[in-house]
């Protein structure tokens, strides 16, 4: 039993931290977010050269074949640097679905350019009414000869305005909330028949609503068996929750550290404000919130594939939401008036943390999911 990082993980951690320090200061990040696509293509290609785009992709698909701990290490550092790229959408969601579900030829044609930084992807799962329930799918896919015909609208598709390819969840059978009867289709996102409305989220990322109006999709574009898509969605969503949580943990630690440094530098009443006990205790609370979250992070990573996996994952995502909000709010408060300025990085870290809370189930949702296990009906 140990919590040490492997040699490879330590190297990945060091190289990510070095990249942020040397090439990705906050000003650069802000410049990239302001670009039309919400990120910088050249930086993305650098990620490809550094091998980061292949970390969670299996070796069989030409990736690094990293485990949950490898991805955690990378994402935690990305969180600290507030890196704005479509890593979650392209690599974790889209790449994860293709890696696990696509037939060999499709897999090869998509993952090779993805890993080399030449292909952007997205996963269109959210619908206006579905909130955090990924089984709530009204978009339909009806079989018609060698094709399926897709109709419906997906909302808030991460990277949806930029992606070259989409995976879309659609109902091939069953009722609106059934976990069975959901199928996944890979479609060309540049098809002019798609109705796209692009907009920004508070963390700066560009997303899109995407409408499908009797769109023809070849039957060969399906991932896995018809109607069995939900299991695949869950697997990929769970892996992505781990990664997002690691990013959130990195942000929480960064905010705590930034706040600590600020209170040591800031003087009022002729002394450093860090000398006030009331502020010290609040920063200890922030520190403890981070440490407890880290413990659940390790728990969730170490219990992948075990009986404890589902419980740990719900607990972790809950705590990222709750403790993340505590740390974020306290960071703003302890920075005083400066904390609410757009100029300071604090507010931008907080906004990314807030988006992480709402992605793939917020704190309340995951608490309820845990309750279904702990106190079964």
């Amino acid at each position: 039993m140990h919590f040490n990082l492997s040699e490879e993980q330590a190297m990945l951690q060091a190289s990510t931290a070095r990249f942020i320090k040397q090439q990705y200061p906050f000003e650069v990040r802000q410049r990239h977010v302001a670009l039309p696509e919400g990120f910088d293509r050249a930086t993305w290609e650098q990620f490809a050269e550094l091998g980061w785009l292949s970390v969670p992709i299996s070796e069989a698909s030409g990736g690094f074949g990293g485990n949950a701990a490898d991805t955690m290490v990378l994402m935690e550092e990305m969180g600290k640097g507030l890196i704005a790229t479509p890593y979650v959408a392209t690599v974790l969601l889209f790449g994860g679905l293709i890696d696990r579900g696509a037939p060999a030829q499709l897999k090869e044609s998509l993952l090779e350019p993805l890993i080399s930084g030449q292909l952007q992807g997205a996963f269109a799962y959210q619908e206006r009414q579905s909130r955090h329930n990924m089984a709530d799918v009204k978009t339909t896919a009806t079989r018609d000869g060698n094709n399926y015909v897709l109709s419906g609208e997906k909302t808030l598709v991460l990277n949806g305005a930029v992606a070259d390819h989409l995976v879309v969840s659609a109902r091939t059978s069953g009722d609106q909330f059934d976990t069975s009867g959901i199928s996944l289709f890979v479609i060309d996102a540049n098809n002019p028949e798609l109705q796209k409305t692009a907009y920004r989220l508070m963390d700066g990322q560009l997303v899109a609503n995407i409408g499908f109006n009797n769109l023809n999709v070849k039957a060969t574009q399906i991932l896995g068996e018809e109607g069995d898509g939900y299991d695949l969605i869950k697997q990929v969503a769970n892996n992505t929750i781990l990664a997002l949580s690691a990013e959130g943990l990195g942000i929480m630690n960064k905010l705590t550290e930034t706040t600590r440094e600020y209170t040591k530098a800031r003087k009022q009443f002729g002394v450093q404000i860090s000398s006030f006990q009331v502020l010290q205790h609040r920063m200890v609370d922030m520190f403890m919130a981070c440490e407890q979250t880290r413990s659940l992070m390790y728990r969730a990573v170490c219990s992948v594939g075990s009986d404890d996996a589902e419980r740990s994952l719900h607990a972790l995502k809950f705590m990222i939401g709750r403790n993340g909000r505590q740390v974020g709010s306290e960071a703003i408060q302890l920075h005083g008036g400066m904390g609410i300025t757009d100029e300071l990085s604090v507010g931008h870290y907080v906004k990314r943390l807030m988006m992480i809370n709402t992605l793939l189930g917020d704190a309340d949702y995951h608490q309820q999911q845990l309750a279904h296990i702990s106190l079964p009906e």
Binding site: M1, S274, Q280, F287, M288, Q292, L370, L375
Partner: protein, 392 residues
């Protein structure tokens, strides 16, 4: 990062499970639950563990301990709690024992350690004083050298189990020079010495476990001093860090959570069990999640210890979160008992009063308020963390 058990560890777990299957858990638990037979039950249980060689899991083998790894300790604690078996008393085995084998001389080790291991001596802790609580280093109980003895005068308070104890380990003032911490020595004092008086303190749970201890010209041989004169604070500090990790009581909180779950599946309101009440569910899961995190915080501390680090300042985190979780569980259990949480059963059984856990929930809640106060209050722990971890 790897938390899987090795084949040896899995075999060890089987051995532990087998041990608890045949251990007199039900009998000793009943004895310990009753104030009058508490000491008898505790000693019986500790002797049972001693016979197995498991009473001092983390002591080095050379000193009669089991020399377990953190993983083994974790496995044992998990199985102990699953079996509903009691914990050992901390004062001898977890507190003064490690001080003696770390800082004591050979004669002290030979004299005291065997009797700690076989529960021949019952120990209590003499730290706090009426005027020295959070500011422990301001303690005033004096020990003056007189020939080959110290003469001790003063008083200690909040002394758990002093009325049952054979020995007390004390921090005493041997010098007023320099900083307050620099004039403190660590003495082992026989509770049967002339001049010692013990007065009970009745706590708000209606139970007597705390005491005041008065010392009037108590003669303590110099050979009962641990280490050097005026260096007692250093020895005590090492112990305090360890004490905090003990206070977290993570495994016991897991058992309490499970009991709470069982109660919630029986208590009803409007024909529905409370386990289905949305507010209860939300509160239950909030505590459960904090405890799930704490379990791994403890594992992280244990594995850091195994790598030769600490327990240092991170033990404060364990103490704060551990006691917060304990109190949250007490609160939730008391709230679940509802109006029955007001019951004082005295000599009546739960069958007589008609409620299974109201009386115990009240006692646990009331005494549980102490957990955020003792072992260095949680506010003091935050001061320690602010200074030593955050560098504020």
């Amino acid at each position: 990062m790897d938390l899987s058990f090795s084949a040896e560890e899995l075999a060890f777990r089987e051995q532990v499970r087998d041990f608890f299957k045949h251990a007199p858990v039900t009998e000793v638990t009943a004895l310990i639950a009753n104030t009058d037979t508490f000491k008898e039950g505790t000693i019986r249980w500790q002797k049972h563990l001693f016979a197995q060689g498991w009473v001092a899991p983390t002591w080095p083998v050379d000193h009669g301990g089991a020399g377990w790894s953190p993983t083994q300790t974790y496995i044992f604690e998990t199985e102990r709690v699953t079996a509903g078996a009691p914990d050992i008393l901390p004062f001898g085995l977890k507190m003064v024992g490690p001080v003696i084998y770390t800082f004591g001389n050979e004669a002290q080790k030979e004299r005291f350690l065997p009797r700690i291991l076989d529960s021949g001596d019952w120990w209590c802790q003499g730290y706090s004083e009426p005027g020295a609580g959070s500011d422990l280093a301001s303690l005033k109980t004096r020990a003056e050298l007189n020939g080959d003895s110290y003469i001790v005068n003063g008083s200690k308070t909040w002394t758990t189990g002093a009325h049952l104890a054979d020995w007390i380990f004390c921090l005493v003032r041997t010098s007023n020079e320099g900083r307050p911490q620099q004039g403190i020595s660590f003495l082992l004092i026989d509770m049967n010495s002339p001049g010692i008086k013990v007065n009970p303190i009745h706590s708000i749970n209606g139970v007597h476990s705390l005491n005041e201890v008065y010392f009037e010209n108590v003669r303590v041989p110099v050979e009962n001093r641990i280490g050097e004169e005026n260096k007692g604070w250093t020895y005590a500090k090492a112990l305090l860090a360890h004490e905090r990790t003990v206070i977290a009581r993570v495994a016991d909180s897991k058992r309490r959570l499970e009991q709470l779950r069982q109660h919630a599946m029986r208590e009803t309101q409007g024909g529905q069990v409370m386990a289905q009440d949305p507010v209860f569910r939300s509160r239950f899961c909030a505590v459960e999640i904090e405890l799930m995190a704490l379990e791994y915080t403890e594992l992280r501390v244990l594995s850091a210890q195994a790598n030769g680090q600490g327990p240092g300042a991170e033990s404060s985190l364990l103490k704060i979160k551990g006691t917060e979780v304990q109190q949250a569980l007490h609160e939730l259990t008391l709230d679940l008992a509802g109006i029955y949480g007001g019951i004082i059963s005295d000599s009546l059984t739960s069958g007589d009063t008609g409620h299974e856990f109201g009386d115990q929930a009240r006692k646990d809640y009331m005494y549980g308020r102490a957990s955020t106060i003792y072992g260095g209050s949680n506010e003091i722990q935050k001061n320690i963390t602010a200074k030593h971890v955050l560098g504020l």
